[in-house]
Symmetry: D2
Subunit: 353 residues, 4 copies
C-alpha cells in the first residue's frame, strides 16, 4: 500500500504531529509506504514528493510548521502557475503514476474543497481539518487553536501589567476574520475586560463607557479584539477604508481603528498591539500535540478501513468522520448562545454591547 | 443571598479561576454576598471565613494555588483535631450562623463525599470537581490536568535531549496513583517511547526488549511511568517493599525500582527523575483557566437555579451536573479500549506489554 | 530613617523586584520606614504616597509592571498639569513634609535628569537605571532587557517555523529607537539571517541580495529589525513620511516600510510583525529578577552609606555607582567594534551592509 | 584547514549553539573544513567523526543536548574500554590521519584536563568551558547555567503556590555538588525563604527556627538546597550514610534528609522535590544561546590566530582566554564575600546560619 500526505493552506502548530501520526500508524499497522507531497497541492502539480519513513518523522511531534512545506494558493483546478487553467488531470495522472492508494489532505476549508473535487475524479482521499481560528464546521476543536490561544493569552497577560502600571487602555488585535474563538478564549483566560468578536458587532459608546468607568476605578482596561470585529451600523469611514484596502495590516487593522476612535474621548493613553503571524508559528502546546496525534491516527484508521472521501472530526471527546461532500464552505462562528459567551457576560466581561 | 466557597484536598492549578468565576457570577448576576472559607473544611470547623468581593478576586485568574488555602485531612465527620470525633453539628451551626444560602465545595473525591454528607444534614451544596489526575468519574476533563500534562511534557522534552546526547534510558515518574492519564497524555505529547500506567501492568521483559532494541539503533529511550504503575504478577520484592513503606517517595517510587531492574541488564546508563509537587503548582495553562472559569460559572448557575446537592461536570464540550449522591467513590481510570491507548500503540509507543 | 521610592518613565520587567529589594534591605538593615510614591514624579506633585512595609512587597519579585504605577511625562520642572510651570518647590516642600531622608528614583534617562535636578535642590537622591533598550551609558546591562530579548527571541523562533513552511521572508520589528541591542541579541539567539539596527544604516540592495540568495536555497529568510533602523542615504520618501508622522506605529514603522520595499522585488511573500508593548510587560526572567534584586540592594547600600546623588551601575559582574551629574543625556548604542557584531558577521549573519 | 570539534562530559543547554558558532565561524572566515567527533573523546578512540558543513549546523542554535553526542567517562589516557590502558597514542595517530590542524574541546573540568594532556602530545587544542554548575575557575559565567537557573526558578515558583495553599515547608533540591550558584540565583529569583549551599554549612536549628517563625505568620516556607549542602559539624548519621552510598539519588539526597530532620519538629507538612536531570536538558534560554555563540566564535578566533592550548573565558562582559595549563582542577565556589550572598542576607533570606 502506498499513501501520500500533503499539508495545504496556512501553517498551524501541530501539522508535524499529524504527519508523524499518519505516517507512523500506516507504517506500523499496514506496512504502508508513505510519500510526503511538498508544498501542498503545488507538489502534486510540480511533481515533488519524497519518502516519509520512520526516520523522516522521528522527533517532529513538537516541531512547529510543517516539514512538507505548504502553499496558500495552489489549486489544481485554477492553477496560478498556468494562467488559472485547470491542471487537475495532470495531477490525477501523477497520483496514478505514483501508485497512491490514498491521499491524506491536511488543510482548511479551501483545501477540503479541492480534496473533495479531487476525490470526485477518483482519488481516494482522507481529509484532516486544520484551522487555527477553530472555525471549521463539523469539528469541535482543531489542533493549533490551543497554541494560538496560549500565545495570545501570554501577550494579554503581559499587556495587563504594562496597562496597569501606566493606567492605559491596552488593545490586542488577534487572529479571527470570521470567528472570534481566539479572542474569546484568550480574553477569558487572561481576564480581559472587553472582548470584541466578529459575531457580535460592538457599540463604540459601550466600549467607551467601560473604559471611562474603569479609568475612574481600576485605572486600566484590557481589550481583546478579533481582527474581524466590527462596530454596529453607522458610516464607518475609517474602518471601511481599511476593509477596502488591499493591505489592511499595513494600514492598521481594527485594533488601530479602535484606538483612533477611543483615544480622543479618553484621558488616559490608548495603545494597540497586533500579534500577527506569531500566533501561528512555533511549537504546539502538549494539548495540541495530543489532539494532532489523534487526528493523524484517525486519518490512518479511515485508510485502514478503506473509508475514503471523508474528513476526520472531533465530536466531544471522540474522533469521528463526515463525508467531504458535507464539509465545503461551512464555517462555525461563535453562536449567540454559546456557553463561553454567557460565562464571559456573567463574570463581568463586556462584549461591547 | 449569601454563599460560601471552600477548596478542599490537594491544590491544583485553576482553583483561583474557579473561585473568581463563582464569586463574580454570583455578585454580578444575583447581587450575592460571597464568603471565602479558609483552608477547606477546616475553616468551617475553626470558624474562619472572609468576605470575597470583586476586589478580592481581581487579577487571580492566572494565579496558582488557592487564595483560600486548603487542607488535606480536615473532615468534620472524623475531625483529627478532636480525636476523630464528629463535629459536623458544630459545622452546621456555623453555616446557619453565617446565614449561608449555599456552599460551593471545590474538591476531589474525598471532598465530594464530605460535601454529600453535609448536604444530607441540610446544607444546600454545589460541588465542583477537582482532580489533577483527571480520574473523577462523571466528568470528561478537570481543570489542572492540562497544566500537569504541560509540566510533565516539558520535563520529558528536556529529558529526551539529555538522553539522546548521552545514549541513556531516561525514566520520568509522573503523578497518577490509580489512573495513568498524565503519563499517557504527556508521553504521547512528547513522543515518549514507553508509557507505563497503573491500568496496564507492564512486563519487565518487554520494557527491556524495547530499551535494548533502541540501544542498538536510536541509542536512547524515554519512559513515562505513572507512580501507580505496576509490573505483572511475580514476586515484586522491591516494589512491594516500597508499596508497604509509609513514605514511598523517600524510598524511591516505581521510577527508581524500574531503574534498578533495568540497569543491570543494559549497557547504557539508566536515570530516573521524579517530578513530584512541581506538577501541581504554578500558573494554570490558558486551557485550564478557561475550563476552570466555565466550571465556576456553571456552579454559580446551579445556585441561581436553586439546584442543590449536585456537582458540575463536563460532558464532551458542555457543562452539566450530576447528583452528589452519585459521585462518591467512583474513579475513572484509562479504559482498555481508550482511543488514546490505541493511538499510542498504533504510532509505535510501547505500553510495556 | 524614612525613604521614598518611585518608578518613572516606561514600565519594565523587574521594577517590582527592585522596589522589593530596596524596601527589604532598608527595613532589615536600617530599620527604615519606606514610602512608595505613586505614578513616578506625579505622586510627588500630587502628594500620593503609601507605606511599603514587608507585607506590601511580599511575593512581587516575579510580578510584571510596577506596583507603584509610573508616568511618562510627569516632570516637576515642567509640569504638564500646570501649563508647563515649574512646581519643583512644591515637590521639595512635600519631600520635607514627609520627612524623607532619601529618595530612590528608578527610571531611565529622563528620570535621572529630573532626579539630578531635584538633588541639586537639596533632596538626597539615589538613582537606579532602567531601560529596556539597554542603552544607558555607564551601566553594562539593565534589568528588563533580558526579558525583552527572551520575548523577541520566542517570537523569532515562531516566525521561523512559519517562514520555513511557507517559504517567506519574515520581518520582525523590535523595540530600539536609538540602540539595536534587543534586535541584535534576539537575532543572534534565534539564528536570524539579517539583523538591522539603528547604529548601522542598511543597504536595501544588500538585504535584497540575501533574501534572493536564500530564496533559491533555504527558501526563507528571517529579519530582525530595530524600530530605529534606517537605510543608507537616498531619498527615503516612505520612511521619512513615517518618521515625520506623529504616530509611526499607526502608519507602519520600519518593518512595514521594509516589507513594501522588498515585496515587489521578490517572488516569495514578505510578512511583517511588530511586537510592540508585549516586549515590556509580564514577569521578568530569572536573570532579570536577580539583576533587579542586586540593583535594588545596591541602591539601599548607597543610602546606608549616605552616598547620595549617585546612580547604581553594573560594571562587568560588579555593582558600582556614578554621580548623577555624569549620567544625564548619555546613551550607549552598539559600538562599531562590539564583539557581538563581530560574532554575528563571522557566523554568517548579515547586518545589511 | 581542517578542524575537529568534540563535546565531553555531561550535556548542557547551549552545546549546539557553541558547535554551530565554531563551525560557522571557521567555514565563513577561514574556509575551513570542520569535522564533528562523536560522543566526546570516545569518538577519537573509536574513530568516529562526521563532516559538519553549514547544512549540518543549520537550525540547531535553540536545540538542547549535543548533536555530536557526549560521553562521561571516555578518557584516552585511562580508557575504560581497554581495561584502563592509555590509548592516547592511537588517538594522536587518528588525529594526524584525519589531518586536523586544530581540535576544539567543549567540556568541563575533566575534559579540559584531558585536552591539556592531549595538547602536550602535540595536538593544537582550543578549549571551551562547559559547566552547568557555573563553578569553573577563570570564567565568570558559563552557558547552560542561565537555563538551569530558569528551570529551577520555574519549579520554585510552582512549589511556592502549592506551599502557600497548604501551609507547608517545600524543599527543592537543585544541582550543585561543590558550588551553590544554581540554588543561590534561583532562590533569589523566586524569593525563596532559605537557601542552603555547599559553601556555607547550615545549622539545622536555624533552619528550624525560620520554618517555625514563618509557620506562625506566613504559614509556609520555601527552601532551595543545593545537592552538596551540608549541616554544620555534629554526627550526621543520615547524611553520612547517604554520602557513603553508591547511589545518593536513590537513597534520597540532602533534600530528603533535611525533610526527615525537619518534619518531626514541625506542625506543618514538609515536602521535598528533587529536580534531577530536568535541570540540564532542553532548549537553552536566549541568554545562553547568545553566550554560547560568543564562546564558539571566540574559540574559532583563537584558531584563526593560531593561539592554541588555551581555553576561552568570560571576564565581565568580554571574552578572553587562558592557557589550558592553568585550568585543570580549579573550581570556583560561591566566595564568602560574594555580593549575591550579601544581597540575599540583606533582603531577609536565611542562609541557614
Amino acid at each position: 500500500m502506498r499513501v501520500g500526505i500533503l499539508t495545504g493552506g496556512g501553517d498551524c502548530p501541530g501539522l508535524n504531529a499529524v504527519i508523524r501520526a499518519v505516517a507512523k500508524s500506516l507504517i506500523h499497522q499496514l506496512g504502508a509506504e508513505v510519500l510526503g507531497v511538498e508544498q501542498g497541492f503545488l507538489g502534486l502539480i510540480e511533481r515533488r514528493v519524497r519518502p516519509l519513513d520512520l526516520r523522516a518523522v522521528a522527533g517532529i511531534v513538537a516541531a512547529g510548521g510543517t516539514i512538507l512545506g505548504t502553499h496558500n494558493r495552489a489549486d489544481p483546478f485554477v492553477y496560478f502557475g498556468a494562467g488559472g487553467r485547470d491542471v487537475s488531470d495532470a495531477v490525477l495522472a501523477y497520483v496514478r503514476e505514483l501508485g497512491l492508494d490514498a491521499l491524506v489532505v491536511i488543510g482548511g476549508d479551501g483545501s477540503m474543497d479541492i480534496a473533495h473535487r479531487i476525490s470526485l475524479k477518483g482519488v481516494p482521499v482522507v481529509g484532516c481539518p486544520k484551522t487555527i481560528d477553530n472555525d471549521l464546521a463539523h469539528t469541535d476543536r482543531c489542533f493549533g487553536f490551543d497554541t494560538a490561544v496560549a500565545i495570545v493569552t501570554d501577550a494579554l497577560d503581559r499587556l495587563q501589567t504594562t496597562g496597569q502600571s501606566h493606567g492605559r487602555v491596552m488593545i490586542l488585535e488577534t487572529m479571527g476574520r470570521y470567528a472570534g474563538w481566539i479572542a474569546l478564549e484568550a480574553g477569558l483566560a487572561s481576564g480581559a475586560d472587553i472582548i470584541l468578536i466578529p459575531e457580535i458587532p460592538y457599540r463604540l459608546d459601550e466600549v467607551l463607557r467601560i473604559c471611562r468607568e474603569r479609568e475612574g476605578r481600576q485605572r486600566f482596561t484590557v481589550i481583546a479584539v478579533a481582527e474581524g470585529a466590527k462596530p454596529q451600523g453607522g458610516t464607518l469611514t475609517v474602518h471601511e477604508r481599511i476593509e477596502a484596502s488591499p493591505d489592511p495590516i499595513r494600514l492598521g487593522g481594527v485594533g488601530n481603528v479602535l484606538r483612533e476612535q477611543l483615544q480622543p474621548q479618553l484621558g488616559c493613553e490608548v495603545r494597540t498591539t497586533i500579534l500577527g503571524h506569531v500566533q501561528r508559528g512555533g511549537s504546539p502546546t502538549p494539548f495540541d500535540r495530543v489532539l494532532a496525534t489523534r487526528y493523524g491516527h484517525a486519518a490512518a484508521q479511515l485508510i485502514a478501513q478503506r473509508r475514503f472521501n471523508r474528513m476526520v472530526v472531533l465530536r466531544g471527546t471522540a474522533l469521528d468522520s463526515v463525508p467531504l461532500a458535507d464539509v465545503a464552505g461551512r464555517n462555525r462562528g461563535v453562536p449567540a448562545d454559546d456557553p463561553l459567551l454567557q460565562a464571559a457576560r456573567d463574570t463581568g466581561v463586556s462584549l461591547g454591547i
